[in-house]
Symmetry: C2
Subunit: 343 residues, 2 copies
């Protein structure tokens, strides 16, 4: 099939280009791959592929380079995610199993992902919205300062400082702690928020002496549990891997460095979490950030069971080894999910 060979040629071009980082010519192609045809034939195929927009020439008299469209076809149809070796799987499991708490899981994941892919890794902290409240505590730091500590079912701990206008007695504090606990512990985020509102209303209606404090603490708690700041938290690792792309500094490294500082941008990059084992690949201009037109994102969702609490993935140049990278992202997501499962 002529069609098939053309796709073989495209695949060969992508593989060679990723490996050598240099435009690949017809002669080099036939030498490095058993295509069974002459360079001239390959040239004809290349002409067609270029016509159709899958490859391009940086300049006349240079080899071909895959376009974003070319990578897209490659990822969609010309390759399969190659499973990781047993040894690699063990290494992942060992590395992640040592985690002490949720934050540690996230940190380890991002490190691991960066090492495996040799790209910049990004891991979103699990979002709160689907979790329930496991425990609430109020600690008097000083006369008029309370520390509100909330522990969620995911193991995440949120804390907020609350400054009061007037001090509370130990009894009042205990009572407040008790009322808030009853209104929220075991509840989902959404239910807790509405229960807290009822609590505030009730306090105001009864004209309790501590109505104001109740309101303040409730507000802080609502803010803490529904605050999108928590949803926006991400861990980043492997920025040093950018050093490998010392060339293309302005097109790839610089904008990416800037994006890494802006966690909001990063979250847009990661995009909507894909569920199940599916790994999302967003190539070059397909992404939401213009400046990052020459970078790709490989990401997938993770979370306990079938839930998808957050997204993790990597960001790298469009010219990357997609099969391996996708495998690594998928594997890490799986193991992290499993760990969350156990917790």
């Amino acid at each position: 099939m002529v069609e098939d060979r053309r796709l073989d040629v495209l695949r060969a071009i992508v593989e060679d280009y990723v490996a050598t980082e240099e435009p690949v010519g017809s002669k080099a192609l036939v030498e490095r791959h058993r295509l069974g045809v002459s360079p001239a034939t390959v040239r004809n195929d290349m002409a067609v592929l270029e016509e159709e927009g899958y490859i391009a020439q940086p300049h006349t008299s240079a080899g071909r380079v895959p376009t974003d469209k070319g990578y897209r076809l490659f990822v969609d149809r010309l390759t399969t995610v190659k499973p990781m070796s047993a040894a690699e799987k063990r290494a992942i499991a060992t590395f992640l199993d040592g985690a002490m708490d949720l934050d540690d899981v996230v940190h380890r994941s991002v490190r691991l992902l960066a090492q495996l892919t040799r790209q910049v890794a990004v891991v979103q902290y699990p979002v709160l919205s689907r979790s329930t409240i496991r425990h609430v505590d109020l600690i008097a730091l000083s006369e008029i300062r309370l520390l509100l500590v909330i522990i969620l079912s995911t193991g995440r701990v949120e804390q907020r400082l609350v400054e009061m206008q007037v001090g509370l007695t130990e009894e009042q504090l205990a009572d407040l702690r008790h009322r808030i606990g009853r209104a929220t512990i075991g509840q989902s985020i959404a239910d807790s928020a509405s229960n807290l509102q009822s609590l505030v209303d009730a306090a105001a209606a009864s004209e309790r002496a501590d109505a104001q404090v109740t309101t303040e603490v409730a507000a802080a708690m609502v803010e803490a549990i529904s605050d999108h700041r928590s949803d926006e938290r991400v861990a980043v690792g492997g920025a040093a891997n950018l050093a490998r792309f010392g060339d293309s500094f302005d097109t790839a490294v610089r904008p990416l460095l800037e994006a890494l500082e802006e966690h909001v941008v990063l979250l847009r990059l990661l995009g909507e979490a894909t569920t199940g084992g599916a790994v999302t690949v967003r190539i070059g201009h397909e992404g939401p950030v213009e400046e990052l037109a020459s970078t790709s994102v490989v990401a997938t969702g993770y979370g306990p069971g079938d839930q998808t609490l957050a997204t993790l993935g990597i960001v790298g140049p469009t010219r990357m080894d997609y099969p391996t990278t996708m495998a690594a992202v998928r594997a890490v997501a799986r193991y992290v999910s499993r760990i969350l499962d156990e917790a």
Copy 2:
């Protein structure tokens, strides 16, 4: 005084070089500064300065560039830290006052520092050793999983997962919580650790049913409060500022990127915290990391009152605006200290 003029020349060279990023020649110098002498005289002075090792020529027919030794003299004797404007001070105060908890303070500081200096900022989390234990809680996450939450006087929250061999009843848990609380709350880290050990010994001696759990929880707690991992935590920000040094990628950007990933290296870079208002400047090769011979560190300690709980600072190319940078570092350290004071 001839001596004095030579120092003026050195100061002018440093200032011009920092501003223009180009070797500065004798003619350009007299044009840009009111030195009151001719280029020829300046040339003689330059020859002497070079002789003494304060400046160097990148190549024969080029202007002069300050050496590390030159910068050192400049920082030590030729400049004063210029105080920040009232507006800048207000901006710093406003920015930091919005912080919600300790982590937030650290994050805001690192951002602020990066913005003010346009360099890479590094802020060490306050170390635990001098703080006391404010609160301890044990939450049953599942039958055999406990979450240990420790709140320190600095506002820092530490958490650890503890897996038990056997489950505990609610009463046993409450008892354990009570015993641990009594042994540690209000105590310093060191005292808590020894008290916990007594607790374990007592439990073993009395052959309590929950001796094993007591041991496990106590161990986790000791680990959590004395663990050096906490001491080693740092926040990094402003890596995007490295983009400004797209030139000198290999000598400055790459090694720095790599160092930023290694928090241990960063801590070595920050070095021993200096107390009081003193700002430490470590120039080029003076630092502990060979690879970073062309970067300087400007750092200082911070903490509530006169204590120095941790260090913060910036890392940038040796060719940086020291007076301004030192001022920014000092100002941020002061405000952060003040905030910790209040808490």
